[in-house]
């Protein structure tokens, strides 16, 4: 099964990459892009019997490794 994990910086954490992209977009004339936040995206190919099992495994892996809870939060989607 496939799980997707989206890791984003918590809102309180400064995001230098998002900020730089936003500035660059404004320079390029995209004033309509109000805010940009950059995160990480993982596609996991999992051995799991059910969507729930896949979600649980992905969450465990995200807690353990993929996200740093001090600065990041994550969201999981299972296909």
């Amino acid at each position: 099964m496939r799980a997707r994990v989206f890791v984003t910086l918590k809102p309180s954490v400064f995001d230098p990459q998002g900020k730089t992209i936003q500035d660059a977009l404004h320079t390029l004339g995209y004033a309509g892009v109000h805010d940009v936040r950059q995160g990480k995206y993982f596609e996991l190919d999992l051995a799991a019997g059910s969507a729930d099992a896949a979600r649980a495994l992905a969450a465990e892996v995200a807690d353990k490794l993929l996200a740093n809870p001090v600065i990041e939060s994550y969201r999981i989607e299972v296909e």
Binding site: F14, P16, T20, N68, V70, I71
Partner: protein
């Protein structure tokens, strides 16, 4: 005394640290491979700079699971002096031995240059021979050294005098221009609540010989030697309870 210098896959300033420990300080040092679960009787531990696991995912994120980290943690809990330099600092943070996080540099670029640091606290095994307020010149070389902590963590770091080094100009003023990576409060290095675990982004190990442009890093390594000689490292320290709850 004997230093243990931990070699993770991707460490690259391990030899620099060993060179300082042995050739500059005349002490003994052993490179301890990360798969080793033992510190071989070392008196102090250095987690060196580099790109452990390529710094893929997040700096230090994978290295913290190395077998040797169990021994490092136990050594730290016994009060042994542990210092993480650059990638070593990042690993200590990911391992929960130090609070906060290290984000990408403000301008998103790797930065290698000489900077100035002000020594904020001298009651750590890494700074005991330095003068309070002393300004040291040494290089930084990193892409992710932008120290961050949530406001409450930051407050407790400051309140408990856990900020050990700040980026300043040569005169000791913490200006924006003197901050190479955007670190909050110009923080360049911190210690844990028990004060025996120190992490910093700059590289004192590359600033210990006149031929390399600065000898200011020596005082930090000499402090460790003095700490060990004083037997302080062996004595358990009272744990200080703080608001900073390190990640485990």
């Amino acid at each position: 005394m004997k230093f243990a210098i931990i070699v993770f896959p991707g460490s690259n300033r391990d030899e620099d640290a060993r060179h300082v420990a042995t050739h500059v300080l005349g002490q003994s040092a052993e490179l301890v491979y990360h798969k080793d679960a033992d510190l071989h009787g070392a008196d102090a531990v250095i987690l060196p700079g580099g790109f452990s696991y390529g710094d893929y995912l997040r700096t230090g994120a994978i290295a913290r699971f190395s077998p040797v980290m169990g021994a490092v943690r136990a050594f730290a809990e016994r009060g042994g002096p542990v210092v993480g330099i650059c990638n070593g600092f990042q690993i200590l943070i990911e391992a929960g031995l130090l609070p906060g996080a290290l984000l990408r540099n403000r301008d998103l670029k790797f930065v290698c240059e000489f900077v100035h640091l002000r020594v904020e606290q001298t009651d750590t095994p890494f700074t005991r021979l330095a003068q309070p307020g002393q300004v040291l010149r040494m290089p930084v070389a990193h892409g992710e050294g932008n120290f961050f902590a949530e406001p409450d963590v930051l407050r407790s770091l400051e309140a408990n005098r856990q900020v050990i080094f700040r980026y300043t100009d040569a005169a000791g003023r913490a200006t924006d221009a003197a901050n190479p990576n955007g670190s909050v409060h110009a923080i360049a290095g911190i210690c844990n609540a028990a004060r025996n675990v120190v992490g910093l982004m700059p590289h004192p190990e590359d600033a210990c010989e006149a031929a390399l442009g600065s000898t200011d890093g020596r005082v930090l390594f000499e402090s460790i030697v003095a700490t060990v000689a004083a037997g302080a490292a062996a004595r358990p320290r009272p744990a200080v309870v703080t608001a900073a709850t390190p990640r485990v």
